[in-house]
Amino acid sequence: MIAYLLRRFLSAIIVIIGIMLVTFTMLHIISPSPARAVLGIKASPAQIAGFNHAHGYDRPLPQQFLTYMNQTLHLNFGFSFKLNQSVTDLFKENAGRSALLSGVSVTIAVLIAVPLGIFQAVKRNSVADYTLTAVSFTLYSMPIFFISLVLIDIFALHLHVFPFEASQATTVVGVLKNPRSMVLPVASLVALSVAGYSRYMRSSALDNLAQDYIKVARAKGLSERAVLWRHLVRNSSLPMVTLIGLSIPDLLAGNLITEQVFNYPGLGLLFFNSLGTEDYPILLAYTLVGGILVVLGNLIADIALTFTDPRIRLT
């Protein structure tokens, strides 16, 4: 296991350096300098030159990359051109709330999807199964913005049950103090995720229900409840472990639309705005952190699988 982890760690370093190099190169191919985007179309040539010199964009590309790598190693991610703050501060301000929204949504989605999928598998081809399948497909096909706007229109603007926007607190603790304001944004994300997760769960459960060990369990006289919860759920959950691992990067950027509609500033929105303004420091830091999370997510998923399925050995 130790050797495996060491190998994964080394390969992760290579992958991350590769991501940094590709992102850096692509950004500079598209636009060697963000000066025009940052300063505006009416920036004079002298202003463009001054900006480029102050930020090193007039140096050779390899030298720029080495400077970027050196700064990154010292955990200096630069200063946002447009937001007038350090990138580190911007991430600190937004990461917690983004992670909270995504984390809570994924957790609730899994808690609903697992029993739902099991139920549909056990009651397959019943009226309930068909109904839930229809609902899943409908939700899955709906764009997230549509679900969000419908929820706002009904529950906030007409029924006045929930606020029209998410919590405006700037800290995680502040957000947690006002859970009612997070119901609609979480609900919109859960609605979409449950649809997908429950289908995976149903499919996996169907495969496992056909296995001999389920027949043996029933033949031994175990109650149906024990068969499902002690044997079926655990074995059917393997795909869910992988899905959750793969959704870890979503903690960073997956909720742009939700953030926009519910007025919940987060990392997704930060990234999207930075794309439009060519705020290079934010874009580079974002892809770096995204790369790390993808690598980490995969690693966590692989390790978690060894606990859920003893047949799996990491070598």
Partner: protein, 633 residues
Amino acid sequence: MGRSIVRRVRLPFVAVLAGALVLAACGSSSSGGGKGGGGGNTGNTSTTAGAYGTLPAQVGTPKPGGTVSYGIEAGSQPTYIMPITPGADSSVYDASFQYLLYRPLYWTPEGNRAIIDPDLSLAALPVYSNGGKTITINMKQTYKWSDGKPVDAQDVLFWIDELRAAVRENPANFGNYTKGNFPDNVVSATAPSTYQVVLTLKRSYNPNWYTDTQLNIISPLPSTAWNIASTGGPHLDFTNPANAKKIYDYLNAQSKKVATYATNPLWQVVDGPFKLTSFSATTDANTMVPNPTYGGQKPVFSTLKAEYFASSTAEFNAMLAGKLSVGEVPADDLPQLPRLKSQGYNVYGYPDLGFGYIVFNFKDTTDNWDKIVGQLYFRQALAHLEDQAAIVHGAFHDAAAQDYGPVPAVPATAYVPSNAATNPYPFSVADASKLLSSHGWKVVPNGTTTCVSPGSGPTNCGAGIPAGQKISITIPYTNDPPVAGQETTQLASAAKQVGINITPVAKTFNYIVSQYADPSAPQNDNKWQMENFGGFSTDIYPTTDEIFNSGGSFNQGGYDSTEANTLIKNSKFSSDPNAVEKEASYLTQNLPALFTPNEDRIYAWKGVSGPPDSFANLTQFAFTPEFWFVTGK
């Protein structure tokens, strides 16, 4: 206020629920509304030609107390507090934020009229003498800083010296800086008396140009409070350039600490109507309270709240929920206006001064495009193919005004030329076809038009255009806002009817302005024929200097006209008060670009009232909430 900016682009967002309802533009009488509080007019409204909606008269009498909230959207937040704003942070939104705290020397506009407002300015209008090379500015003696010191001539000199230090360090340290312009064109700035500033210029300029584009960027700074180079450090003589640099570096460094804007004692010394009490580093949302030492109209309400919105949809939802006093209404949400009005919101829109245009690339030699577009009759033919009325109705939901030149008839200004009052090239496929056929083209509707009479005579295609020449144009357009695509598509559709093949291509705004621009990307000159990035908002003196003069920094298409160069130069340097009107008249006729409609900037407000002008100026990126009071309705 120096406000030469590119039209803001909005984050793209989704269509909203509810059925579409197209609202007709309205307004037919002359502009009304004046300043001044008090009064109990009810039921009266003022309309302005070309406006969207009407301006309600003030309702009720000002009562103290209450909170006024307004929206700031992602991408439009204030990010820099010190009034020497770097290019990276420079925007009308940042300026609006600063001006609540630190008043500019000269205030524009007056309502929605693009002129200096003498009542809101800190000085009388400048007096020019010595052949236009000496400017005397007499400041009002009624304004004070919140630390009790008067706002005087030294504060103007302080700003000028700090500006010099800033741009000497890096030209990008001030967004409104152009080499050769202010402060480079000032030989000396002195204060012969406490409230008088005298500027001596290197040469004379058109007084209107200098006042409206150079002097209106001046923003006095507290010269006895901010002349320090470290926190708690000694006060320095800012006239010494070395000191001025140290002071600038210190103030700039403090301006980068957005989390401290409301707590740093520096920023508490204000001369504007408000003081900052909180500022969120995460969203730039902020709260202000009235400044009791302000020398102008003091606000009567208790709190001014700027609320952050991640998107225009989120802001609109806040208005639908009745949670916002004042907000901007994007064109996408116009079909939902009845819902907003049912909540009690007043709605008003008007274009800000500027113009939209589709740029011609006069430098592209591919397939003889430069020869074709160099012919005026061809540009006129294209102008006849642009259906501005349809674009205003369909793309803008009637919330826009047609525009035929760099100085449009709406918004009304003193500089609109007579030939821009009505469309000199009204939409007519027949007229476009006739122009082409009378100049040697065989027009094939829905086919391919070709040159059949090459030559440079009056009935020929034009010099350098060979027989058999086709007309094929690629037009990159910005994918945000969607209206740019709709304008381009309409042109392509109409052009097809006269055998001109136009291919619209969607690109991002940044890509277009950086890659399809003669000044900044000459290596791409042969890759585009026309492009549509939007347009410009202009100063209140709407010369197209740097836009349409040869070698201009943002002469995107390389337009080159000796006549235009002369007229633009006159606008800047001659003493002719009608110079810019003559410039605009020529450009309207000569078509350096295809001018496109000006979008109305639409605002909605509820629960607040005040003089109509104080709401009308919202459409011009100006913000004077100190005239408002809370009605609670």
